[in-house]
Symmetry: C2
Subunit: 366 residues, 2 copies
């Protein structure tokens, strides 16, 4: 069996121990005589898997009791619509609500485009300069509209590799966060948020599962014409079993949560992630061969883009990396160069191997 270090931005590497457990249980889960993917979602076996996964997630994120945890389908792209459809109170009476959005990279741009179908979008911060997003507003520098239905931001921009080192204080206005590429990377205070959502395929599990953590009092009133499947309250009332959920993804997420607990939880994981990122940024910064364009106080722990001083060497770099079992390092076409995504499942040894290869490649090509 071959295993590489996979730096994909998502779908991304999963912990090998999780894959091994899933493999062992593939045809027969706990002597049930069937695979988890063959189980009725209303049977006691799957219900126990689902409940355990939620309990473990609540434990590791310390999610307060007044929040519901939903296990949905459709990715962050569906939440881009579900957020305004569920939070624009009063919009159903014909009054068009408004919401505040940070515009800090490719994913917040997509969230904004979708929200504009449903409400007035007020851009409270736009960090685009010359077509690039490489910094974030200083803490406390942004003014919010007190009448906004909510404030939306993207704590970590997967493509640009910019990440908020703080949680914006929006006062009484509900704060909504697309945490797809940063959830579970460190301990956060969930009570600061009204809604947290995340596609699973980076730090949670396989693609096709989406976690939504939503404060209970914010649910129950949707815009007219909202599909039932886009109504958080319907899913909450049915414990995410309103329709058949992505059962196998839910199970795998549960295995990942158990693995995280075993690893010491999010405090420990945060230390590891900080260390992994710090050493990779240090390797980039101490070289004139590689460069990271992001302001130091806005650098992502999860997605580290870097460019080669000589872009003509990009193809050779990727070829050499592949030969060293370092895969999926090509940067997003909108940014160019390389991108190393180093989510929880990327072992420190993978970061070390990348740093070693970068040094070697620099030596051979300077």
């Amino acid at each position: 069996m071959r295993r590489v270090f996979n730096f994909s931005a998502g779908p991304a590497a999963l912990p090998q121990a999780v894959l091994e457990k899933a493999q062992a249980e593939m045809l027969d889960w706990h002597d049930a005589g069937m695979s988890v993917m063959e189980m009725s979602h209303r049977g006691k076996e799957f219900m126990s898997i689902a409940a355990q996964a939620e309990a473990d997630l609540r434990e590791i994120m310390a999610i307060p009791d007044n929040y519901k945890v939903l296990f949905l389908q459709g990715g962050a792209s569906s939440q881009f619509a579900m957020v305004p459809l569920n939070l624009l109170r009063g919009a159903s009476s014909g009054k068009n609500g408004s919401a505040d959005y940070y515009r800090t990279g490719s994913w917040s741009k997509k969230a904004i485009a979708e929200a504009k179908r449903y409400c007035d979008v007020n851009i409270v911060a736009d960090t685009e300069i010359d077509g690039k997003f490489t910094s974030l507003p200083d803490e406390g520098s942004v003014k919010f509209n007190p009448d906004a239905a909510y404030v939306h931001y993207t704590p970590n921009e997967t493509i640009e590799g910019v990440e908020f080192a703080y949680v914006p204080d929006t006062g009484d206005v509900p704060l909504v966060a697309d945490m797809s590429s940063t959830i579970l990377s460190r301990q956060i205070d969930v009570s600061k948020f009204a809604v947290i959502y995340a596609g699973a395929q980076k730090n949670i599990g396989p693609a096709g599962l989406t976690i939504v953590i939503v404060r209970e009092d914010l649910m129950g009133e949707v815009k007219d014409g909202t599909p039932a499947m886009f109504d958080w309250a319907i899913h909450a009332k049915n414990n995410s079993l309103y329709n058949t959920p992505a059962t196998y993804g839910w199970y795998l997420a549960g295995l990942v949560f158990a693995w995280l607990k075993e690893k010491g939880g999010l405090v420990e994981m945060g230390k590891i992630n900080q260390r992994k990122a710090a050493k990779l940024y240090a390797a980039i910064d101490t070289s004139s061969f590689y460069a990271n364009p992001v302001a130091v106080n806005s650098r992502s722990w999860m997605n580290v883009p870097f460019i080669l001083a000589n872009a003509d060497l990009d193809a050779a770099f990727l070829e050499g990396a592949k030969a060293a079992n370092l895969m999926t390092l090509k940067g997003h076409r909108s940014v160019g160069g390389m991108r190393a995504s180093i989510y929880n499942a990327m072992p420190e040894a993978g970061v070390d191997a990348l740093i070693a290869f970068m040094a070697e490649f620099e030596k051979g090509n300077s």
Copy 2:
């Protein structure tokens, strides 16, 4: 390793050969050094898996070139809204369209409830009698509204076990079918349909994947305010990669399609399914201990509900079945009794074992 005969209505049994292949490839797909669930959906490995799955599905269903095949998330429950949102042309101009719906069981009732959010629903046939659905209209007996945006029906009602033995002729009005529990059970003429959709978790693969087969000319105009994720045309234009799809489900569906080809395709599968269903219905009909309430010409090949003459024996029946490794036979609460779902992955030996157990239980309890 233990394997049972699993009669779940969905998520349902998968072919053991498919699970074994998935198990073998779990940590390392074709020497890629990673699991399919770890692959970027835009990388060449996953793109090849996705393309092969679509090609195989097109081949086994003989899907004409003027149909798009979409691999989406969200289940049939999402399509209940997407069908009207995508097919009600003119509705965006303020004019409320209308659509014809068959009302033949629990799932068509759900489709109707959701469609009513978006249009006038004209019920062209309602087969409910005394709270039960046990028959279907005769072929040619239903009158359609020539101005309807479309006609919707549920070829197989999973809960009640009623199945159309014919395809309604709706003339020029587009015919839409929720085939969740009958797709791939036999060969059909796709050109008779405007849209076919199906949740994967019965005859295709794991829950969380939804197949939509839609005639190209019907896409491109959605009702105002439709979320991007609910617009078939956006998914079609992006080859179902507008957002990150349920990659692992797509891969498993591909393994199922390859397995179906190996088994001789849908003509052969149809013969096997007809035989499996016929022998189970025969066992029920020749006994006064068991009964199936459905009209003979409307019986499902896939979901066979049956009741015990003495409902007091239900618990003992289920207990005994479990001891004989025959699982998930409890009927839906709205119908009562038992239900054996015998999709493609249920081997004929499983049906034989069920029939043998039923005879033995009858003998011991008469």
